[in-house]
């Protein structure tokens, strides 16, 4: 059990922490909880690894696996996202911590941004691991020309995924026994990311004959998605979790 830091080190007697300071406090709280409990590293990453392995059981041909590898990376990311979001809000629901933060007067948008930042960090770690696994298990290679596209795709896709996950996670986790709602809401919403990120990674890795320049329009889509859900999510989060 952990309690959020009160920010006494930076808050002066005249006022509460600034918006961005609060986001940072909440993000670092979440990451500190993870560092102490190690749930992501001990459970979620292995889960992602397992999905990458069992994909090979279902898709028997190695040539097929090589061609669809970018898609499999993002599929595994989507499933792991659901687990990560459950976890991110599970830690809040257990002790009513989310309500406590709101009652204490913390801006709902700061909670949203803070939790989305922490979720992004975990997602990026997850995606890096999945990429390595894809290189090993599905014989992917990363050409030097595709690195910039690859990194940009990972960053922009992650922001969008984190925004959607935090928004719907806040809704689903607030009500006991309603976590089953999360996949139903999240997966259709992140369909654009699945489409765009897969195409962009295909372009970056040169899978199925795609070239790097094919990937940049998709990054544009990912950026718009991230901005739309980042802003929309921050605005919607307060009304959704306040009951």
């Amino acid at each position: 059990m952990s309690s959020p830091t009160t920010g006494t080190s930076t808050a002066t007697t005249s006022g509460s922490p600034s918006f961005w300071r609060m986001c940072w406090l909440i993000a670092s709280k979440d990451l500190r909880v993870e560092r102490r409990s190690r749930v992501v590293t001990n459970q979620v990453l292995p889960f992602a690894g397992v999905t990458m392995v069992i994909f090979a059981f279902a898709l028997d041909k190695e040539t097929v696996l090589e061609q669809v590898a970018p898609g499999l990376i993002w599929l595994a990311t989507m499933f792991s996202l659901l687990v990560l979001v459950q976890r991110a809000f599970g830690i809040e629901a257990d002790d009513g911590a989310l309500d406590a933060l709101r009652v204490a007067g913390v801006d709902a948008r700061a909670i949203f941004v803070g939790k989305a930042l922490a979720l992004s960090a975990q997602l990026l770690l997850l995606e890096a691991v999945l990429l390595v696994l894809a290189i090993v298990l599905y014989r992917q290679t990363v050409p030097a020309g595709g690195v910039v596209l690859l990194v940009t795709t990972l960053l922009t896709a992650t922001c969008g995924l984190a925004a959607v996950g935090t928004l719907y996670g806040g809704l689903a986790a607030g009500i006991k026994g309603r976590e089953t709602l999360l996949p139903l809401l999240t997966l259709p919403a992140v369909a654009p990311v699945l489409i765009g990120a897969t195409r962009a990674v295909e372009a970056a890795l040169g899978t199925v004959g795609a070239v790097v320049s094919d990937g940049w329009p998709w990054v544009g889509l990912l950026v718009v998605f991230a901005v739309a859900f980042g802003v929309g999510g921050a605005l919607a989060f307060g009304p959704l979790v306040d009951e």
């Binding site: 928004l167 809704l171 009500i175 309603r178 709602l181 139903l184 809401l185 997966l187 259709p188 919403a189 369909a191 654009p192 489409i195 765009g196 195409r199 094919d214 329009p217 998709w218 889509l221 718009v224 998605f225 739309a228 859900f229 929309g232 919607a236 009304p239 959704l240 009951e243």
Partner: protein
């Protein structure tokens, strides 16, 4: 439609006598007129769709399915727009701690139900049409994929409406999700369009091609749109009234329980 019930003790609420209801249905003169208009235009639609309108040059008789298919997706889109606007009204009128306007909330919900039902019908009928014209029940082009995701998105919206809690909570939650859905749909549509435009092999079957229709066919389509719009309005009137009664009964049930508990305490 109304009968008088002479026994007032039939309806007792928590020990407090309530006079028996005289109005026994959700029908009014307005809905009866609408209902008749709907039936007439539906009959007209069938007559034209299956009878008077000609077969198409390319699709032959399969074009007759479109007289069902196009109106159903039209109604679905209209219904979802109504849901979005109603959701906006809920949030606007209920801003800053004011009580959420439940009438708009019920319209948002009823409209989403109708929209979802009509998208499902559109997908099924569209699959039948596709089988006749393209030879396949389904393919992953931009329009079909987006429609399928539209369907699932609003299934999610309906699930959020059933999360429980007070009517106020339901109204606010659903309104937010309803507006997020309106954000999602263009994003999905754009990404799917971009996706399918880059995969040229999908356009062997030219699903994006506009179907040329002559005057009588267009007229039949127009009748179809009118008929289904009338049905939609009729359905909304009845469904929102039913939802109002459901909400009222739930509230009274709570009141009854409270009264009963208090009465227990006085014995």
């Amino acid at each position: 439609m109304t009968t008088t019930n002479p026994d007032p003790t039939d309806a007792l609420a928590g020990g407090i006598p309530v006079s028996a209801p005289v109005v026994l249905s959700t029908g009014t003169r307005g809905t009866r007129v609408l209902g008749i208009a709907t039936i007439v235009s539906m009959a007209w639609l069938v007559a034209f769709g299956l009878g008077f309108s000609p077969a198409d040059r390319d699709q032959r008789e399969a074009v007759r399915i479109l007289y069902m298919h196009v109106p159903t997706i039209w109604v679905a889109y209209m219904a979802f727009v109504v849901t979005a606007l109603s959701s906006a009204m809920v949030l606007y009128l209920g801003r800053g701690g004011r009580p959420q306007p439940l009438g708009w909330d019920r319209l948002a919900g009823a409209s989403a139900e109708a929209g979802t039902a009509f998208v499902a019908v559109t997908l099924v009928v569209g699959a039948l049409w596709g089988r006749l014209t393209w030879g396949v029940f389904w393919q992953w082009d931009a329009r079909l994929t987006t429609t399928a995701l539209l369907f699932v998105t609003y299934i999610g919206y309906l699930a959020v409406r059933r999360l429980g809690g007070t009517h106020q909570q339901r109204a606010k939650r659903s309104a937010v999700i309803g507006l997020i859905a309106v954000l999602e749909i263009p994003l999905v549509h754009w990404s799917v369009k971009l996706w399918r435009s880059l995969h040229q092999e999908a356009t062997v079957l030219n699903t994006a091609g506009d179907i040329k229709m002559d005057g009588l066919m267009l007229f039949s389509l127009f009748i179809g749109v009118i008929a289904f719009t009338l049905f939609y309005v009729w359905l909304m009137l009845h469904r929102t009234r039913v939802m109002a009664m459901e909400d009222a009964l739930e509230d009274r049930g709570l009141d009854d329980a409270l009264v009963a508990r208090r009465l227990e305490g006085t014995i």
